[in-house]
Each structure stands twice: as structure tokens, then as C-alpha cells.
Subunit: 305 residues, 4 copies
Amino acid sequence: MKNTAVLLIDCPDRRGLVARVAGLLFEHGANILHADQHQDHDLGLFFMRVEFAIGPADGAPLEESRGGDAARAGAFDGNFDLEGFRTAFAPLARELAMRWQLSSTARKPRVALFCSQYLHCMADLLYRWRTGELACEIPVIVSNHREVEKLAGFYGIPFECVPATAATRTEAEALELALLEGHRIELVVLARYMQILSPAFVQRYPAAIINVHHSFLPAFTGARPYHAAHARGVKLIGATSHYVTEVLDDGPIIEQDVARISHRDQVEDLVARGRDLERMVLSRAVRWHLDRRILCYGNKTVVFD
Amino acid sequence: MKNTAVLLIDCPDRRGLVARVAGLLFEHGANILHADQHQDHDLGLFFMRVEFAIGPADGAPLEESRGGDAARAGAFDGNFDLEGFRTAFAPLARELAMRWQLSSTARKPRVALFCSQYLHCMADLLYRWRTGELACEIPVIVSNHREVEKLAGFYGIPFECVPATAATRTEAEALELALLEGHRIELVVLARYMQILSPAFVQRYPAAIINVHHSFLPAFTGARPYHAAHARGVKLIGATSHYVTEVLDDGPIIEQDVARISHRDQVEDLVARGRDLERMVLSRAVRWHLDRRILCYGNKTVVFD
Amino acid sequence: MKNTAVLLIDCPDRRGLVARVAGLLFEHGANILHADQHQDHDLGLFFMRVEFAIGPADGAPLEESRGGDAARAGAFDGNFDLEGFRTAFAPLARELAMRWQLSSTARKPRVALFCSQYLHCMADLLYRWRTGELACEIPVIVSNHREVEKLAGFYGIPFECVPATAATRTEAEALELALLEGHRIELVVLARYMQILSPAFVQRYPAAIINVHHSFLPAFTGARPYHAAHARGVKLIGATSHYVTEVLDDGPIIEQDVARISHRDQVEDLVARGRDLERMVLSRAVRWHLDRRILCYGNKTVVFD
Amino acid sequence: MKNTAVLLIDCPDRRGLVARVAGLLFEHGANILHADQHQDHDLGLFFMRVEFAIGPADGAPLEESRGGDAARAGAFDGNFDLEGFRTAFAPLARELAMRWQLSSTARKPRVALFCSQYLHCMADLLYRWRTGELACEIPVIVSNHREVEKLAGFYGIPFECVPATAATRTEAEALELALLEGHRIELVVLARYMQILSPAFVQRYPAAIINVHHSFLPAFTGARPYHAAHARGVKLIGATSHYVTEVLDDGPIIEQDVARISHRDQVEDLVARGRDLERMVLSRAVRWHLDRRILCYGNKTVVFD
């Protein structure tokens, strides 16, 4: 298992940012494993992600991994003083007007999964979580249907059924928000959850609700995008994962992918192929979020690979 | 060189269509090389493409082709009576309410290429034409700019400059239509031609004007799609080739393709990457049209591969 | 649910084949829903797949399907006499030296799934089976490990643990073959089963054992292909599903796919990305096999889409 | 036009590298536009690319570029003292055992293009060069055939025909090397040049000869890879650009891409589709090399995007 910390920064661009940040990390003895940065020259913004070792790597090797080598990669001789660095970094961050977060990758974010009756994304996320691909806690699964109950049970995750209709939407959201708060949820994943969240709900989790839309946004927003794609006669279909904002299907895009179709494919075929796309773009988005690879700004994302 | 004919059919679906068509071809001694068909069950339509030998194949082998084998593939011992078959097929076609075309692939359609100042698609089409990948005659290149003149000269194709502004659009189109008529043009290819054609012009060439739009339609219709894609923060950009109808960017889609981009890519990068996509989707569309692989119906295409 | 039959044919190519087959289907009143054919001109072979309605379509609409329309697509007014057609077709098939199979799609092939300790392909196949994407019976899951037991239990499928080492391989295969026979298995799917099957085993199931190899064959045959890919510094990794023959990693390829990697990706990353590729290429191969879309000849496949 | 410099570094990994380099750039007042780095933890190596402004950006905006904004992006108020920085950097580089290069992007590398009779890659590279996509000088085109002469003439580039057979290979190479030296060539691009270069030739241009091989290496090395791919029945074909080393088709891979094929595609179709792949992977490799984005180590490349 990795024993690292990630520092994520965005701030107004200015000269010497990298030198200042790298210098401070160096002074504290950090062993940088990955570093990536980005400038938006139009907006004058700077983005940075640094991952560094904070202690000896540990744990069983992955399938076919190189054992000793892989372990060595994250090696650290001693323990990095993460809190000491945090204290030292704060004044620099203030001076440079940074938004920043610094967190140990050992601390797993707490995630709630929402779904409706289609379970392909849910089943995929749960399998990836079980195999360690998604480094998070999943204290609760929420659905307005009961289809997911058995699957939740198989993975030993508490399931909460919160029925929702247009009439009961406000009440249902209050219940859901109480659940999220009770479970101290940090990220909400809408795995084909077919209810539209209210602005009030969305505002409680800024850049912390990930949705999958079954089209190549901004084409085919709204309901039944595979029907719309079939009607338009497109030659590729797509899926999009994005952060949820108050405007439907309009939040910052995290990932998109497409698949080739032909005149032979009926709506049913598009739906079936789309399921694979949805799984891929949603699981990638969740993984990148959990790995602290994503920064949001304006209506866009920076995804450090 | 292939010595084949292609029969393209669309008609109301009914039982026995394949048997009737295949039976007639068999009676006339056709050696079928490729056959493909499609039903649109929703609309009750039937589509078919049959390619068959009409004489001995001939000509130099392609790069690395198998020489004798390749020649043998299209072999035909004797000459198929294409006109005799046409005469025999007509009553069947009438009976079954077919739209159909039957043509020798040796007869090369006459194509006019239009462009404005960006020449990447034009240069690509001309190179493919020169190497035999596009089986057509190109009697004329038309542009509202002069940039293409030298390139046209290199390939020995007459160039006509027809300047067009909003004020002179009607007049310019009259000139262009006269050119097309004079050259007996059967297909117009808009290789990044930045003028909008009038409905009157479009109606003269139904399903015979191919355009390339530099986005993944129906996303980002209209002007400056790469700017729009950059502003929206998409993770893939696309290009679309389609038949031109009276509604801008709305005609039947022939081909689409996409390329992955990231937050690092500025509008300039999107433009550069898009050029490769545009070349690919436009050249494929033109090739498929020339090879009689495309059938239009409603606002869609069937593309037999 | 579809109520159709599929006729799969391969035979020496000769004129009039389509006319003969289509004619016979027409005489028997078949309503052809899909037909596709292929000629290998080098080898002089002809391949054909015809799917036709044999009774009224039935069952609940799929997600977002068009309800009445979708039902109508496969509609058949009355019942096709499948056995009568079979009897009538046999002499034609003999005359034309055809290998052929004719089967109702309602009859679900019986499939055995094999795996070792990595379960991603198994989990994926089982989920797709549960949702109806894979139309088969799965009477048994076989593994030389116990990891799959719980998953098999969740899906209610009997699990048989057959440990195998080099020393006990013969004995183990005898046990496996008895299981396959006992369950009247028609297709064996090796979902990352890490044992090499003996020629004797393979010969019992010609073109009926599907394996997934975690490389883009023929590159990186044998063990640890992700390590080999990493060592070679390739920019894309791949996965391949294929029928198993007596020569390791050499059977007819059914499907391949690739994913882009970069210098940032370590072996662990290749393994993780590869899992998604493996799932995709294996599940597609199994689906196409079950849908009677694949014909093997020589060391190749024809896959009718 | 960009007015920037690029610093490329590789060296043994150790703590504080980024801080040292970034600190020195900061002291000299560099305005960093892009920075990227990579560690190979297995080999303990560090790689870095930094691009920074060295003077005011200048020149006409690209197609659809944002004019003022784009100009502003590379703006620099004053002139960076590149030679002063070089002098200051040298002792740091020595201390840290760096291999490094520092160059102004305004200085265009001198490139020789080699080809044989197939011109698709050559035509593509020349068009991209003409439009500014490839920032280099092309003082000479060399071929063992005459097919390219007219094309070279159109672009105004001197053409040298150096016939080569097995018997005259040594002599021909001597002639070629003299040409390269006379033109002070820094990069040799083999645009489907079908002669095998001798080890002596290759050693003169380490990591400075780029070749395109028409397969997805390491599959199908050697001659006639499309035939081999067709015979093996693969479902995707590929192309690979790589640096040339003394071992045929074995040098560090720069870029690869693939295209889907089917049983319908004959060798001729593979050749035709492959041409597009070859163009793409070769032109990308050349562009990345010219943009100083590639570092070679062992038998691999780091490509900073």
C-alpha cells in the first residue's frame, strides 16, 4: 500500500511558484514521487499536484507486480512530518492566495453511492472498490428503488431506500442529506441515479457530487439521450462523467468516452453499448477524484494523470 | 483495377426481396463479390448493396498486394451484360417500389471541390485522388480565396476563384451553379468551404453535397466550434462529415471521429488536432460515396462497409 | 424477448448460393431480420448468417426501448416450421458441401466458466449474464482456486474447485472433462484461467473454448505480458480473446482492443488498465459466440456484426 | 510565433532536484509556461522538461486563435538572458550528473527526409511543414527512387537520388552521410524508406533517426507486416514510429496507433488504412522531437505532452 501524501494547489499564476513550493518540500525532506502542474494562461491561473512519500510503503503486491521493486518505489526512510509541513505551508499559501488541500492517501474519503433501477454502474463501482481500485469507504448506498438491495448486501454495505417522486422530492432530499451528514460523506456518486437534485442539495456538496450522463455532452442533454442519438443518426455514441452543478448536465466534465455504432444498431444496442461506456467514464472519474487528481475551476476540470 | 458493378437499392421491406434480387442476378450469371443488406424495422425499409464482377480484373497490383491472387479475386470469365441486366431489373424494381442505381465502378463520378483559405482537407483529398484512393474525376476546384491556386496547379486541375460576400452571395452562386453544370458535376465536396449555401443551391444537389463540420455534431453547431469545445471543457473533440441539407449542420451524418484532449490543450491545439480529424472523416465520406456505399433515408445514412 | 432462429453457413464459394438459400427461406415464408455474408476470394470460401423470425416476439422491453416498436420489429404472424425447414435445407446443404448450423435463439447454450484467482473477467461475465446480455445457461463454474466461491454463490451457480499443479494436471483435466460432460457443456470460457490445457482437452471442444490473453496478440505471447509490454516501452497495451487451439496463444482471434498508456504508467497501472480491456474483449467474444455470429476457418474468424 | 526556450534534463533521481532547477530559473527571472517531470522509480532516474518565455511573443495568429489572448500567453516583458542562464546552469548540471539540452524554440532543427517509392508519409510531412506544424528546416530530401522528385520540387526542396542495392549499399551510405554532413542535418526521418541502414550509419545519429514501421510493434517485425497481420487474422492493425537503433524494428518506441479492421478487409484494405496510421504516428513523432518533448533512456522514451 502506498504511504504518500498529496498536495493540490490552485492560485493566481506568478513567477517562482514552483520554486517556492518545491523549496519548502525540499526543506522538509519530502521525497517527491510525482509532480504535475498546469497554467491557464488566459485566466492567469496556476495548478499543481505533488505526491510525496511520508513513510515506508507497505502491503501485498498487486497482481504480477514486481514485488520488491514496487515496494521500493514508494520507500521512505523514516516518517515525514505531515502536520509540521502543513503548519509551515499555511503562511506561504496565504501569501500566494492559494486554494489548497493536503492529505494522506492512507485516509480514505467517505463516499455515498446513489442509484435507481439500472445497476451496471453500481455493480462496477462495487467490484472495483472490493478489489482496491477505488480507495474509499462506502458507508451507505441510497436508492429510490429496491433493486440494489441484494447487491449491497453481497458487499456488506448498508442500504437505504429513499423513494422519491416529484411530490415528495423535498422530503426525500431532507432524508438523504441527513443520511449523508450522519455518515460524514465527502463524495456523492450518482451511479445512474435518475432523480434531479435540487440546487439546495447541490450547494451542500460543491465539486463533490459526480454524475454520469449517457451521452457525449453537450450533445443530447436531458432525458433519453440514446433515443436522441439514434434519431439523429450519429456514428459514435458517448458517455460523460461530470461534477453536478445547479444546471442540469452542465457541470465541469471529468471524463468522456465514445464507441462506434452503425446503421445496424437499434436503440437497444446503443443502450447496451452505452452501459460499458458509462461504467468506464464513471469509474475513472471516481478514481481520479479519490486519488486527488482533479481540480475544478470555472466550469472545467484539470485532471492530472 | 476492379471491373465490377454496384447495385444499390432501397425500398419498402417485404419478404422475399433478397431471393428476388439474388435470383435475377444468378439468372444473368453474376459473380457476386460483396453483398450487404439492412432493414430498418421501425420504418419498414430495406436497403441492399451488391457488387459483382462484370469483366476480367486488370491493372497493376497495389503496394504489397498479392499479385495474381488479387487479380483473381475480381476475375470474370467473359463480360457481364450490364445493360441487359438493367433492362431486366427495371420491372422488378417498379413492382417492388425500389429506388435504385446500377453503375459500373469503372465509370468515375465527376466531383467539384470547394474550399476557402484552409487547405488541409483539400490537400489531403487531392493526394488521395492522385494515388487512386478516390476513384473520381475532378474537373474543377472552386474557392472564394486564391490560396488553393498553386496546389490546384500542381495537380493539374482547373481552378475557379468565385469571391463571395453576403452582398454578392446570390450572384456568386449563380456563377458556381453554371460551373457545376458546365462540368457536369455529380458530387460537390465542401473541403472547409466557409460559405453557407442557399436552399436553392442545396436543392440542386440532393444527397450530393458533402461537408465537413469541425465538431462532433450535434454538439457545437455553427461557427467556431473549437472555441466552443474549449469553453465547455470537453475531454474529446470531434469532426463530422455529412450531406448538406437546407438546415445548417443538420444533414445526414456520414462519418464522425474524435480525439482525446486534455486541460493542457489550448484552442490552437484543438484546431491543430482537429485538422487531422477533419481530413479523416471527410476523405472517408467521399470515398464511401464514390464507392456507392452510402444510402440516405430520412435524416440518416446507411454506410455499407 | 427475441423469437428468432439463426442459420450459419460456410462452404466453397460458387455462383447462386445466396439465391438458393434466400429462395428456400422465402418458400418457407421466413421473415428475414438480418442477413450478412462474406466471401474469402483467396480461399474460395463463402460464409453466411441469416436471422429470421420464427414466432411472435415477446417479453418486457429493455431499458428505454421503444416498447411497441421494438416488439413489432421481430413480430411474426404465426409460427415458422423450423424443423420442416431444417429437413428441406439438408439436401441443399449436402449438394453445396456446406457446414451449417440452424438453431433457435431461444435455446440457450450451456456454458462453463473457468477462472483462477483473478476474478475481474468472471465478475463481469456473471453480471452481464444476470442482466440478460449473455443468453446462456451457466451450470457450473470451475476454478483451481477458491476465490470465486462466494461470487458463484451470489449468482446461485454451482462451484467446483479442481486444484491443478503440473504434477496433477492429467488427473485434474479428467475431472474437468467429466464435469463438462455431466453438465452437457457446449462452450468453455477461460476467464483468466491460468492453467494450460492439454491438446487432448482442447480437441474435445473445437472452436468451443474461448480464452482471453492479456496482450495484443501476436505481441507478448506467454506469461507476464504486461511486464513484457512495460519492458518494451509500448505506447498502447492490448487484450485479445480467441478460440483455444493446441498451440498456446495461437488460436483464431475473435476480438482485440487497446488502451493508450504513457511513460507514467508502471506495470501495476498496465495491469489495472488491462483488466478493463480483458473484460471488454472477453465479454464481446462470448456474446458474439452465443449470438451465433462467429465462423472459424483456418486460423481466422468471421464475426458478423 | 512562440519566443520560448526549452530545458530538457535527465539525471539520477535525488531529492531537491525540482527545487534546485526551479530555484535557478526563478533567480534568472524565467516565466515558466509549461513544466513536466517524470521519475522512473525502478531505475532511479529523473526527467524534466521546462518551457519558458525568453522574449515577447510575435507573429500572426493561427486559424481561429484568440488573437490578443494567445499573444499574451507567451508574453515576456524584456528578454531573458539565455546564455547567462546556460552558464549558470552548467555547474548545477555537472554536480547533479545531468544530461541536458537548452535551446531556443526559434532555432529550427535541420531535418533530412528519406523515402522510397511510397510517398504518403512524405507528402504528409511536407504539407505539415509548409503549414508550420513542423518547426524545422528541410535542406534535403533523399530517395533511392525518383518518384518524390516532383513533390520535392513543388515544395522547393533540393532532391538527391541515391540509388541503393545490396551490392552498392556501402557506397550509397557514404554518399548519404556526406549529404547529411554537408547540410548539417540534426534529424533524419525515414518516411517509408525501405532500405536497412548499417550500424555505422545509425551510430552517427543516436536518437536522431526516426522511422515508421507499418505494424504495431513488437508484432510483425520485418518485411510485409500487413500480409502477416492478414494471415494472423488480427482485428486491429497498427503503426509504430521509433528511433532507429542497430537492431531492426527494435528501437525506442515514440508513438503507436491502431485501426479496427474486420474479416472483410483484404491485404489491400490493410495497406490503405495503414497509410493513415503511418502518417499519424510518424508526423506526431517528428513534431514531438522538434518540440523537444522526447527523452530516450534504455530502450524507451519519455514523451512529455
